[in-house]
Symmetry: C2
């Protein structure tokens, strides 16, 4: 049960170490919360071992199982669905107050919740998010270090590589994931340092322009202008947590991102990749914006789930993140749809509907909600990435004086 | 990862169904809490499915991993060890108040905690027991239905069958476990009905005698007299929960048991089987009692863990349960040491140190602690079974008038 489909176990362990060191940068005495599927218990043990080796004061394991969660949604009454006793929020908020490091091991079936009523999923998700607000805020505002990594599991691997046997698909997905996180023959930690330095150079460049707006256009039908928040900051690679350490919120990460002005968005965005929304795939969708707000949407598949998302709250209809990823990034070069935002967002330029990251505007971490709103910050219980980058995407930066700068051409950096 | 070592999956599913139906007897709308090791996720899913099929209102999964728990004990400071935030107690107490059914899936390595400081284990255990008092009381007083079952895992199977390969040991342990819970070609639920009827007949017989004391003697050196609580009731097989349903607290179960008078115990008890105490094996031990209390103890192995147990509180040095199991019971006939109380206690007559079961005395479920104490009831944060039954064990019942009745001869029923 503990094998990794023929992958050298030392590489898997290096991945666990990378999550602990480069990912959340565990400090002596710090608590570490690890969230993962029960079936990934063997990998989770490696994370626990590496975290204690790094000096963790306590490693708290929080297991779940998507299969049982699906059974829950299929069977419980509306009354049970809306029960969120206090301890359920506290069980995460407690560790946020303790300034723990949070490691999420994702890797569940992208279609785990296919066919379920999206409204029930959204209702429960909203209640949990509200109950766990301190935890949610601590991660969104980077008060604490956190990271999301992924490990393969059978149904996900078969979805990504439908032509391979389950075992071969699992091995292939492990190989791909290790490649995306730069684990190979060389020194992975060093490779990450160089990669983060490259991303930060691009951030500096974009910050020096301080564009007022960006215009997107491609042959899929995207023709869209978005405003950037006043004082926006492009971030990428590592972030600095309120606890003073640098951390990587996502591994892999190929993106640089910033805060849009959620009041300024006009035109149409067409999806470049399917979106896995709480286990439901939304395919070939289109969002039309006016004055920052989605006024129309359509999807070839999963439209109901997309609508449930948009109907959650006002902020779910507005943007909270703008992100650049060159079309030629290592992940997009794999020409593989992972059906998992962690990978797919790093294959493609994208946006997020919903809550903004306060750190992506100058002084944002100390601003009140009202102050953030005043510069264009968006608030919502949701934060959902969706991909728009194609091989012919053109992005033009528009300065305050109206002059234009070519930023992306044919899907890749033009500057 | 989901296979069961060649065992017919329908038998495994029947086991899950048995736990849900005969075990906790799930009622429509009732919440069900399932506690298990993360690595048993596949079996846990079957329990969840069967519970919803039986009409459960919600199935709550609580996973843990003994390997990570061991890392915790090895690494955390005394300060962290004694931290028990309120939500940790509430996360179980909440479901006790909701009158949930509790299913525990045991099956961790009997030596998982070998070599750890037993005092640290006991300290943590005591704090958790205290924090989860409502849950603890609800199960000990049978206010709610609960059951403990076991599934194999590699290190346990290798311990039980050291001469077999890991795979063969796992298959053998599955076969043995399924046999002990009467899953075979026939109707398992019917087999359980008959078995429970037999146990209840023996209870009636013992209750009609209403012995004042029992005397134990065998060639290992046991020579021991224990008083029975005034108004004691022999119970066995199924119990009736406060919620009105019958349930089986343990599967398998071969025992009938009652409440000793914790103030009356004289002489020496010699262990017949090793005791797995929080992951430490205690072997060949001897307990000497005077006026109900352990005054001396010795063990060839694991003495420190035994002493840590006895030092927990006053009640840990006194008896809380007396149980009969004929030496020829199906489990003892397997001539296999399971290193797991759930099985080994059903292979052998045994006692428990620590807390009594209030339901084993007339009216006990409605008595205050003071009232229970007055009839000889024992209180402790612990309740630990240890085995004394041998093939030559003689048990004599002593009536109030001093007359004697032979109850067990050569390890089996004499009446």
């Amino acid at each position: 049960m503990n094998d990794f489909y023929g992958i050298d176990e030392s590489k898997i362990r290096e991945y666990a170490r990378l999550a602990v060191r480069a990912g959340v940068n565990v400090q002596p005495g710090q608590k570490v919360v690890v969230r993962c599927e029960a079936q990934h218990y063997a990998f989770a043990r490696m994370i626990a071992e590496e975290a204690y080796t790094a000096g963790a004061g306590e490693v708290v394991m929080k297991y779940s199982d998507t299969v049982c969660t699906r059974l829950y949604y299929e069977n419980v009454s509306d009354e049970v669905l809306t029960e969120v006793p206090d301890w359920m929020g506290e069980s995460m908020n407690y560790y946020a107050r303790e300034k723990a490091a949070f490691i999420s091991v994702s890797g569940s079936n992208p279609e785990a919740y296919k066919g379920l009523d999206p409204k029930r999923l959204q209702t429960r998700s909203n209640l949990l998010q509200t109950a766990q607000k301190e935890f949610r805020d601590a991660t969104m505002m980077s008060l604490v270090p956190w990271t999301i990594i992924a490990v393969p599991q059978e149904d996900w691997a078969k979805k990504v590589f439908p032509d391979l046997s389950e075992e071969d698909a699992m091995r292939r997905l492990w190989e791909y994931i290790l490649k995306t996180v730069r684990i190979g023959d060389g020194d992975a930690v060093k490779a990450w340092e160089e990669h983060v330095a490259f991303l930060q150079k691009k951030c500096c460049l974009m910050n020096s322009y301080a564009f007022e707006k960006l215009h997107y256009k491609n042959s899929l039908g995207t023709d869209f202008t978005v405003g950037l928040a006043k004082g926006h900051i492009w971030e990428g690679g590592s972030e600095k947590a309120g606890t003073g350490v640098t951390f990587l919120a996502n591994m892999p990460t190929e993106e640089i991102f910033t805060m849009p002005d959620c009041r300024v968005a006009e035109g149409t965005l067409v999806s470049a990749l399917p979106l896995s929304l709480k286990g439901t795939l939304v395919k070939n969708f289109k969002l039309t914006f006016h004055e920052g707000c989605v006024t129309d949407c359509a999807a070839e598949e999963g439209e109901e789930a997309l609508k449930a998302l948009l109907e959650t709250d006002e902020g779910s209809r507005r943007l909270g993140e703008v992100a650049f990823v060159p079309y030629g990034s290592p992940i997009s070069a794999m020409k593989t749809l992972f059906y998992n935002t962690l990978f797919d967002e790093n294959a493609s330029c994208h946006f997020a509907l919903g809550r903004c990251y306060p750190t992506t505007v100058a002084g944002g971490e100390n601003m009140s909600e009202a102050e953030l709103s005043a510069v264009g910050g968006n608030f919502s219980v949701n934060h959902v990435d969706f991909m728009v980058g194609t091989s012919d995407l053109a992005i033009t930066g528009i300065l305050a004086d109206g002059s234009e700068v070519e930023v992306f051409r044919d899907g890749v950096w033009a500057i």
